[in-house]
Amino acid sequence: MKVRIKVIALLLCIMLTGVCFIGCSPTGSTEVASQFPEKPITIICPYGAGGGTDAVGRAVADVAKDIFGQPVVVENKTGGVGVVGMTASMNAKPDGYTVGMVAVELVSLPKMGLAPDTFTYENYKPIALLNADPCAITVGIDAPWNTLQEFLEYAKEHPGKVTVGNAGSGSIWHLGAIGLEEAAGVEFKHIPYSGGANPVVVDLLGGHIDAVAVSPAEVGSHVEAGKLKILGIAAEERSEKFSDVPTYKEQGIDLVLGTWRGLAVPKDTPDEIVSILEEKFMEAANDPKFVEFLENAGLGHEVLNSEEFVAKMQKEDKLLDAICEKYLETTE
């Protein structure tokens, strides 16, 4: 046991030393952009290890470390459904060494009263979008509906009767289902399941609910196994993997919505550093190793540069205004 205590003591010493280093950020901001980065870059992930956001962050960090020639470390800072971690990266020292993982919740949470007013995408300078997954409507293989229209027609005839499960109250999948309701003029019975997409998909498999509103990737294995079918996907274009499933738009529903994950730095970060980060992280995001990882993990590969990323967030900001208002109405 003594040996074990020694090992533990040693580990603690190493950890404490590490903590000291974090404290010792260079005095004076005389860094020259051309030398950036001179030390490890930390990516703050606002969600826990093992989740989708964490997976994207770790995968991009793995590729980026070779591109930067410096270690890229992912630190999970969870809590407040993402508010804690994103607030931390938003208020980090604007020197480019702390990069935040941002997700669609950055835009949606303040609209639902779940984040302070200072919590806004405008406090960030985006670097790159790394991944996006659209909302979709999935039903059991034996369900009587084969297209989104049939499903919506049924919902119209039976207002408030069709049970649509989502992955948590106020989650993007819940908002996606509300968006569909709004666009199609129907009324669902929303059932929020906490703990990610798994529990809700299991309940659909067991036939306890009529449909789920999660991403195609989260139902993918069951679709391939012939147990579930996707009726429509809320994306601009059809997905490669499920190319026979039409988009919402093709089926007359004008809605493009989904989750996304990207990188951003505090808004006061010098532009030269932002452009270096953008260039290198874009390279990492298009690296075949990263693309392959996303593909295997069932995550959508969608890359946007800083400018396009800002435009996307602005667009979603408007779109989610109406949907979040409806959300607040229905849950009150």
Binding site: R4, L114, K189, I191
Partner: protein, 493 residues
């Protein structure tokens, strides 16, 4: 059967054996450190397995899972601090052994019953998984609520001396579990505007605070002596007499654990508490539970390791994870380009059976390492208290911080430590809070979801046979002892 032999032949490969061994050893260390759980261990090692081929990567994760679920009991027995929530039920009797200087005996019992539970679950996984798998899909909101409702009656059997105190503590636990965002409407409850409270108090800092910190505050306030209870380790394997006491309980609990593990959404912590409760209920001497008896250690330990194989049943057959660790294992498989479910059985049957064999082998290694480690583990309590207490304190701080990388959780841990200290002073057991925090959110969310689905009609809980069974069992648990007491009184008159 042929497939199983192929699986076993595959596993008898030095590389795989070493990987499983490393996984189990790492898992035991992770599990025995308070704050580091099986879920975290597997999640942290997941990225390492990306570069490995599928079988190697998966086997090392299985090793960690099996090791960590077992490892939690070591700390629970020796320092009265469950290493993982799954070991919270092991504290009751396990720590009493250590107080008598029989910590080694308790670890022997926990190791053996963990192995029995694990091997039962591995065999169930191999031979009956297709049948159990579809059962998992029968569970929906009504059934989960009924299961949690039944689980809450366990408070009665873990209340130590006073039922009233136990119920009071349990209610406080339920109230604590209401903190955070409302699961149905997203409304923030009792958060006082703090974003740190949005997801409520995390279970692990609360648990560490309640169990470990009172000892530390005690030693600060009352001083530490060099005195410690000498742990006598005369033998490492349980005696014949212990085995005889242990076997029936361990086997029953192993099956129970496998069953609970196979239900998505109920994991090792719930299984351990339920098994403890059932062992006490069917025992000829229920009053002895909590005083350090063999069955009291065997039941939760066999059950929590029973969960390991159980959780893999729906994962491999349906692609539906049976608990939080299995959810990460699902990620591990999909990242390798493998889709768990019927397709995996069709296209990669050899891998499936290699995994089955791996679960079996991991449990055997866990047994060997646990037994060999007893002499080493028990030395931890021979360390003078003025070294031991600060070390435990540091581990508690690091463990609470590590959950979310949040200092807030350290404060939560210290705060609940003070609560735990006073609870100990007035002889209140802390376990009902932990149980209520595990089951409270499950009961609440599922009650409300079920009522939304049934449009407000409570009959949904009685029309589903599974739900009806648990509700009847719960009511029976509460009413039956009272009726028995009344009948006895009538007889006496």
């Amino acid at each position: 059967m042929d497939n199983l032999l192929i699986g076993l032949a595959n596993i008898m490969n030095l590389k795989y054996i070493l990987l499983i061994m490393a996984g189990v050893a790492g898992g035991i260390s992770i599990g025995s450190l308070p704050g580091l759980t099986a879920t975290m261990g597997v999640a942290l090692l997941l990225p390492v397995t990306f570069g490995m081929e599928a079988t190697s990567g998966f086997l090392i994760l299985i090793g960690i899972y099996v090791g960590a679920v077992y490892g939690g009991s070591v700390a629970a027995i020796l320092v009265r601090t469950p290493g993982t929530p799954a070991a919270a039920a092991t504290v009751f009797d396990g720590n009493e052994f250590a107080k008598r200087g029989e910590g080694g005996r308790a670890i022997g019992i926990s190791t053996t019953s963990s192995a029995i539970g694990g091997i039962i679950s591995a065999l169930m996984l191999i031979f009956v998984s297709p049948y159990l798998a579809n059962f998992a899909l029968k569970f929906s909101s009504a059934e989960y609520f009924a299961l949690a409702f039944f689980g809450l009656t366990i408070i009665a059997s873990i209340s130590a001396k006073s039922l009233v105190k136990g119920l009071a503590v349990g209610m406080v636990g339920l109230l604590i579990s209401c903190i955070g965002l409302d699961p149905m409407t997203g409304y923030s409850r009792f958060t006082f505007g703090s974003y740190y409270l949005f997801s409520g108090f995390s279970l692990i800092p609360v648990m560490i605070g309640l169990f470990a910190m009172p000892q530390i505050y005690n030693s600060i306030l009352e001083g530490v002596s060099e005195f410690h209870i000498k742990q006598h380790v005369t033998r490492v394997l349980p005696t014949k007499a212990d085995m005889k006491l242990m076997l029936p309980t361990a086997i029953r609990s192993g099956f129970l654990g496998t069953f609970i593990g196979s239900i998505p959404g109920a994991g090792a912590d719930i299984a351990a508490f339920t098994a403890y409760n059932e062992a006490k209920r069917w025992s000829k001497h229920p009053e002895k539970f909590g005083t350090g008896i063999v069955e009291g250690v065997a039941a939760p330990e066999a059950a929590n390791n029973g969960v390991t194989g159980g959780a893999l049943i729906p994962l491999l057959t349906l692609g539906v994870p049976g608990d939080a660790v299995a959810a990460i294992l699902l990620g591990a498989l999909t990242l390798q380009g493998l889709q768990p479910g019927p397709i995996l059985f069709r296209d990669h049957i050899e891998l499936v059976y290699t995994i089955f064999a791996g679960v079996l082998v991991a449990n055997i290694f866990m047994f060997i390492m646990g037994i060999l480690g007893i002499r080493l583990f028990t030395k931890v309590v021979s360390v003078p208290k003025y070294y031991l207490m600060p070390t435990i304190f540091i581990l508690c701080v690091v463990g609470s911080y590590a959950i979310n990388n949040s200092f807030f959780d350290v404060l939560v841990m210290m705060g609940f430590g003070i609560v735990g200290y006073f609870m100990q002073k007035v002889d209140m057991s802390a376990s009902p809070i932990v149980l209520a925090m595990i089951l409270g959110p499950m009961a609440e969310e599922n009650l409300r979801k079920a009522l939304v689905m049934s449009e407000g009609s409570a009959s949904i809980f009685l029309t589903s046979p599974i739900s009806l069974f648990f509700i009847v069992a719960a009511v029976g648990t509460v009413v039956w002892p009272m009726m028995k007491a009344m009948m006895n009184r009538n007889k006496e008159n």
